[in-house]
């Protein structure tokens, strides 16, 4: 029996129609499968491909001719937007299913200092934070990361880091970026944070002397604490082979369930569920003259640390299963 015959056989129900579907909603940061809507005319497939090819060729020509702009720090926004972010978005969206909360706490314009917890053996959390800001912020802001000098010592990595907008973690660079109205990302735990064992997950390490706070105070830039949940599980570090690390000149040599046993396959991060929470900004404009006062700086750093730690615990309650949906 066909639909038509069935319908006509049911008196009174012949005109029954299913209710119209609502607009597609984002689920856990993952866009739903696009629905073919009848009303909007579909664009000609040939045109789409023509545009894509033309766009790709124009990009290639721009790159080969050097016709792009690089800022004083070596940030190449053309390359970052066309190559780095599209690749990282696959990790951000499909692999880690990242959810972002509190994006409204990030200012629309002017400087800001994002202070986050650091974890995950490889600093993917910093990269994912910058993707989150570019994707979810209404102004699609870039995050300028401050990296350890080790990053800038290694060939290739140093080149990529500079092109993606990162620079060496030092006060002159941080202040220059913040006073020119950029969002700066800093992870004060440094290698103590990313190099900690899986057993110590989500326990914030020492924040150093709080150099990041004095840089923010000197420029009157608001500090925005950020809690990132999910990075701890991507490469769970079971042991640290310290002698080998010393031999290779690395801050630690991780042993995870997959590395170094599976070789390069061990570099594939585990698909944990990520939550990023931006906390309300801490204004510093009224504290500019205290930038050199070690106690003010230390207390403020401690306040930021406490905020991140409590937010981390709250986020973990929301995410009972690290590898859940």
């Amino acid at each position: 029996m066909s639909q038509e015959e069935y319908r006509s056989a049911m008196p009174g129900h012949a005109e029954f129609q299913l209710p119209a579907e609502g607009p597609p909603r984002r689920v856990n940061g993952v866009p739903p499968v696009p629905h073919a809507t009848g009303s909007a005319p579909r664009r000609d497939a040939v045109d789409v491909w023509d545009e894509r090819i033309a766009g790709g060729l124009a990009f290639l020509r721009r790159r080969l001719a050097g016709a792009y702009e690089v800022d004083d720090f070596g940030f190449d926004s053309d390359l970052t937007d066309s190559v780095f972010y599209p690749m990282l978005r696959v990790l951000y969206r499909d692999w880690f299913r990242t959810e972002v909360h509190g994006i409204e706490h990030v200012p629309d314009s002017g400087g800001g200092l994002m202070v986050g917890n650091h974890s995950g053996t490889l600093a993917l959390d910093a990269v994912m934070l910058s993707v989150a800001l570019r994707d979810r912020h209404p102004r699609e802001r870039f995050l300028r990361l401050l990296g350890a000098d080790l990053v800038f010592r290694v060939p290739v990595l140093s080149e990529l880091a500079r092109k993606a907008g990162a620079t060496v973690a030092c006060n002159p660079d941080a202040e220059r970026l913040m006073s020119s109205g950029e969002l700066v990302g800093v992870f004060p735990e440094g290698f103590k944070g990313i190099g900690k064992k899986y057993a110590d997950r989500y326990k914030l390490q020492r924040f150093g002397r709080g150099g990041f706070v004095s840089a923010a105070l000197r420029t009157g830039t608001p500090i925005i604490p950020v809690a990132i949940v999910g990075a701890e599980e991507i490469y769970p570090m079971l042991a640290d082979l310290k002698p080998l690390a010393r031999l290779l000149g690395m801050p630690y040599f991780p042993v995870t369930p997959t590395f170094p046993w599976l070789g390069p396959l061990g570099l594939v991060p585990l698909p944990s569920k990520w939550l990023i929470q931006f906390c309300p900004p801490i204004p510093t404009g009224h504290l500019t003259e205290f930038a050199d006062d070690p106690m003010v700086v230390y207390n403020l750093a401690d306040q930021v640390r406490e905020t991140i730690q409590t937010t981390l615990y709250a986020l973990l309650e929301k995410r009972p299963d690290p590898f859940g949906p």
Binding site: A65, G66, V70, D72, F73, P155, S158, T167, P172
Partner: protein
């Protein structure tokens, strides 16, 4: 004794290094300025014929720095412009030993002479952004107050640190003399001939694998303008002189239409040494460090004090490209033509395939 008004331009100016590209031009420009009565060029060497034409209004004194000491006081010099600073050793004139002799010993003697000159009111010294050294932990942008992290390994950079040290001593001993130190980024123009312009003029440009140094240039004409202004007006202090903005090494190579040849960092020194011995290039440790670390300076102080902004790094480099167009293979025009040809080709193929289906 009649002293001139402090703000008035000096009447007698001594310029060192007039047998060289920059020195000859600065001296010629000062000689053309009516406010300056007398320009004396000091140099141990005879200016080459190409530069001799410029030096019409300049009195030339052929003397080395030691003999020059007496000359400065005798001439009653009111300003000394020290430009006899060499960036790279010249194998035809004694190599590195002569370079150090000229840069360090020459500056020491000249500054001692300047210190003893009673009528001296102004000292202008050519320095370089090499004064900031090169290290992985350096801030991305140097201001005049940034101290180098370590003693640089390049010969020129070490000389520059010595030269600035002598000027610091001079400032302490003659605080009433206006001392201006100008830290120049690498000079570039369509006609300038330096080891860096020769490097970019090659069709195949060796670069460093895994690094993309940020570079800055200053146009020769802007460097001359800044030098001239620091002689005729009073601008005490140390200033970075560079074009605003940045070009990365790979970007500069691409804009010049050259092809980059990335070399491993560990092999660079050896390659440069081989090239030096073969007479191919004059790439020293100074340049290698520049190509690994890059160097960007803040010119806010210069622009505020001089009221003059040099043309940007990109504009200065564009002028160099127009002067060296014949060695380029991948020019922007050729790339644009290739882009159009490929796009048209793809469209034609797609149209014909689509046509068959229809």
């Amino acid at each position: 004794m009649v002293t001139s008004h402090p703000a008035a331009p000096p009447r007698v100016v001594v310029v060192t290094g007039v047998s060289r590209f920059l020195g000859a031009r600065v001296a010629a420009r000062l000689a053309a300025d009516e406010r300056v009565e007398r320009v004396v060029g000091l140099d141990p060497l005879e200016p080459p014929p190409t530069l001799a034409g410029l030096l019409g209004g300049v009195e030339l004194v052929r003397a080395d720095a030691r003999a020059a000491s007496a000359a400065i006081a005798e001439l009653g010099a009111e300003a000394v412009v020290h430009l006899a600073v060499t960036g790279a050793p010249d194998p035809q004139h004694g190599g590195r030993a002569a370079m150090k002799e000229q840069n360090v010993i020459g500056t020491m003697q000249l500054i001692a002479a300047a210190q003893a000159a009673p009528r001296l009111r102004k000292l202008v010294v050519r320095s370089s952004t090499a004064a900031y050294g090169a290290s992985f932990r350096d801030p991305a942008v140097f201001t005049e107050d940034t101290e180098p992290r370590a003693v640089p390994r390049g010969a020129f950079a070490r000389d520059i640190l010595d030269i600035e040290g002598y000027v610091r001593g001079f400032r302490r001993r003659r605080p009433e003399v206006i001392a201006t130190v100008l830290r120049f980024a690498p000079l570039i123009s369509s006609t300038a001939d330096t080891s860096l312009t020769r490097y970019f003029a090659q069709p195949l440009v060796p670069t460093v694998w895994g690094r993309d140094a940020r570079l800055q240039f200053v146009h020769v004409d802007d460097a001359l303008e800044v030098l001239h202004r620091s002689v005729v007006a009073d601008h005490p202090g140390t200033f970075n002189v560079a074009g605003a903005g940045v070009l990365t090494l790979s970007q500069a190579v691409r804009r010049a239409g050259r092809i980059a040849l990335p070399l491993l960092e560990g092999t660079l020194s050896a390659t440069a040494a081989v090239a030096r011995h073969a007479g191919v290039g004059q790439i020293g440790l100074d340049q290698l460090d520049l190509f690994v670390h890059g160097r960007v300076v803040d010119t806010t102080r210069l622009v505020r004090e001089f009221g003059f902004a040099p043309r940007t790094t990109a504009e200065a480099f564009q002028d160099f490209i127009t002067g060296h167009a014949n060695g380029s293979s991948l020019t922007a025009d050729r790339l644009a033509a290739a882009e159009r040809a490929i796009l048209d080709g793809i469209r034609k193929v797609r149209a014909s395939v689509g046509g068959e289906h229809a």
